[in-house]
Amino acid sequence: MSLPDAIIIGAGIVGAACAERLSADGLRVLVLEADVAGSGATAAGMGHVVVMDDNEAEFALTRYSSDLWRARSAELPQRAEWEPVGTLWVASDAEEFEGARRKLAFYRERGLQAELLDEQSLHEAEPQLRPGLAGGLLIPEDAVTYPPPVAAWLLRQMQERGGELRQSVRVQAIAGDMVVLANGNQLQAPLIVLAAGAASVGLIPALPLQPRKGHLAITDRVPGFVRHQLVELGYLKSAHGSSLESVAFNVQPRATGQLLIGSSRQYGQTSAEINHGILSRMLQQAIGYLPGLAHLSILRTWTGFRAATPDKLPLIGPAPGHEHLWLATGHEGLGITTSLATGQLLADLVAGRPPAIDAAPYAPSRFADSFREEAARAGTV
């Protein structure tokens, strides 16, 4: 291809979504992937498209992106296994049920469908859940998907518009409008988008990102065992707390009839190896809610690294102090949900169009101090 208008580093679902949107705006896009497209955090996420309510900025981004997913769901390839199963947030006790009520009010005030289930309705909705749970909150519009084929589908659209994907290409450095590859080659573009997830920090050390390791397990086929994506309301303590290590009950029915089991969160880990201690805690947590799981076979277990920012919001927009560099990373555990909105917001900002939602909460400039310190350090070397 002739000189690209944009180079995107990282062909996970976020990089792929950026590539698809930028190419739709007429840009010639070159995507560089260190491994295989969609093989990083994209393959280690559950593929849960979920609207979240921890704060207005998170709600706005997940809601907007969930709308984009549903608008395009009919175009998704069959392999993307799009299933509008809904999320069922499970309350184990009265305190969590109060939390479900607050969540219900939050969603309804903002026009999102939500339905409170008492103990009996919860049991009817999911008979495999253990008796004695307090109730639940059903969000019917949430869905599940298998993310790697979605990334491939987005990249194909970019390629059909004249863009290019190069895999097994390792980027060594970003310098101005140049991308330096590990083999010494240099590529140039006026716009460089860093979408390499937790690995992004290897290229730009100032990025306020920490890897947050997660484990997943998948069972043999048991069609109909559960019907919704099941998540404990206590999940929020795990996902949004900052403790070094936590697990939560998070089980998803796959289109194949398999059950995908999450979730674990660990800071300070760099090895992708299975940690049997936390895997066992994660499975015990799941069995605590779904006792029948104990009789099923786990076929595979694997891990991945979320890219976590200090405020749990992603980095979408220009990198402070870098003229050509934009960021699309830091999506932590919501990267599948928020990928499509990230691509659209980034393309809108690049084109100078007003985005559909306020992009300020995701602007990397909120961490400008961190970038300034890096520039200062670089200046003294």
């Binding site: 043999d220 289109a255 009839g257 076979s297 595979r300």
Partner: protein
């Protein structure tokens, strides 16, 4: 010589001994398709060491057993394919 005994692979009697894995007994019966993927493709043993999960079949009525990790025992009933009613699947096109 070790004691020989019979197991049944999809109702066919196969003579083995207690150093034969169930996967080997299935192959000896001329069956290469151990199970079917969700979209109906045949799968068979790949790694032979309990990792790939492709050799799973039903042993004595219990589905999903890793046949490469199990020794044959006298009278074992082994059923391959997706059939859960004990029916043997059709012969494979590919061997």
């Amino acid at each position: 010589m070790r004691e020989q005994f019979e197991v049944r692979v999809n109702r066919e009697a196969i003579t083995v001994d207690d150093t034969t894995t169930v996967a080997a007994a299935i192959l000896r019966a001329g069956v290469a398709g151990f199970r079917q993927s969700p979209d109906g493709h045949w799968r068979g043993p790949l790694c032979g060491m309990g990792i790939c999960a492709e050799c799973r079949a039903t042993i004595d009525g219990v589905p999903g057993q890793y046949t490469c990790q199990r020794w044959c025992r006298p009278g074992m009933q082994i059923v391959t394919g997706a059939a859960s009613d004990g029916e043997a699947p059709d012969e494979l096109e590919e061997r």
